[in-house]
Symmetry: C2
Subunit: 245 residues, 2 copies
């Protein structure tokens, strides 16, 4: 299978995701964006607002993948422990970042920058800021780890601020064919096409919509000619089976 | 912090989730259901359709948590490798499950149970089936691991079939207060209430909706009297700050 050689992981931090109270939206966004940059999102994790869990996950992921993104837990309240946990994972002190301090001084009205909000200007020592064009308080980068907000609109704006820092690999192109056929009806044919074309990854993602079963067949490859050729073969298979069913 | 002592993890299997093509819905469902049963969903992971990744994640999670649920990758196509990967993780052979075979023979019209569909009757040796009331092909359980479908409607029906096998802990009760106040304005007060009441977990989940900032304040505890008392304190804080702003 042809795969981009640049990899990433996402670490979602927050009890509210694990209890089902909030539905994460950052994984789908990041997956789409990274794919477009030629970076393969290889793993995502969700952990609670728990220092031990954050430190352990982060230290594993940052060694295994080229980039790690965290979302959530960088606000001003007592349960926002991401910055302190990242500092601990890297063995660096958590210190007031002068540039972040300046940003918050400019963002809030005089007197509004209280102790709680000042926590948002603290980063692991030596961190590089990630601009937040929406709500002031910045994210930050330490080595290959980017620490971002959890609110999707803010997280997406921060990603816009940092995307130029990422170095992508070969872009993976994709082609999607929607088939209103049972997967079990297509499986033998699809498997044969996959076996004959290992450089094109063929995924079959079943759905059940309005009483009908079907599957989205997604083909991925780095070479456009190969992608087109194998897509044609899959489309011909689907047409043949649809005619016969 | 008061926490249920029964824990679980979710392992979502599928490239389509990591590329952003499909947005996972099973995490939020499972988190809500488990919380209701007094089981704490402590971690969720998403990995690709990759045997090595599935085996490694599963072997870590099944040792660390009381229950593990997997979703995705149990269909009939070549990229459905979950059953084989689970068998490998447990060091058991993948064999035709006689009961699953019967189910599929009953589900499909004569002649429709082809080789590809027969793959869905294969489980790690000794697995106990999980009934699929929607589309025939069952999920299965091996020790503390439940292997479920990825399609949300099917996954949810399977969860209904297995829920009686789960032993929950003390139920965690929750109370939600929505505050249209900036988190930084409430943080000092919330932090003080949290520090004085460590048996009630207070989470602050900011949102940005229609141009307004606010936060959902979620309180969780096992003792209803304590939950009510601390909720009253938080509500009073929000009222006081709202009046003053």
């Amino acid at each position: 299978m042809s795969q981009s050689s640049v990899t990433a992981a996402l670490l979602v931090i927050g009890n509210e995701i694990l209890t089902g109270e909030t539905r994460d939206a950052n994984l789908a966004f990041l997956g789409t964006e990274l794919t477009g940059l030629g970076i393969r999102l290889a793993e995502a994790r969700v952990v609670a607002d728990d220092e031990g869990a954050i430190v352990a996950a982060l230290n594993e992921l940052r060694r295994r993948f080229d980039y790690v993104f965290t979302t959530g837990g960088i606000g001003p309240t007592h349960d926002d422990i991401t910055a302190a946990s990242v500092a601990k994972a890297f063995g660096r002190p958590l210190t007031l970042h002068p540039e972040a301090h300046e940003i918050l001084l400019g963002y809030y009205e005089p007197g509004e920058l209280n102790q709680a909000r000042l926590r948002m200007a603290h980063t692991p020592e030596g961190a590089q800021l990630v601009e937040n064009p929406i709500s002031g308080a910045p994210g930050f980068q330490v080595e290959n780890v980017f620490v971002l907000a959890g609110i999707p609109s803010v997280m997406q704006a921060m990603f816009g601020s940092l995307r130029h820092r990422l170095t992508g690999g070969q872009r993976v192109l994709s082609e999607t064919i929607v088939a209103y056929l049972a997967e079990g009806h297509m499986a033998a044919g699809l498997g044969a096409i996959q076996a004959a074309n290992p450089d094109v990854e063929i995924g079959s993602y079943p759905f059940h919509k309005e009483g009908r079963y079907g599957a989205r067949l997604v083909l991925r490859a780095t070479e456009p000619e190969r992608l087109a050729l194998v897509s044609d073969a899959v489309a011909a298979l689907v047409e043949e089976l649809s005619a016969g069913s």
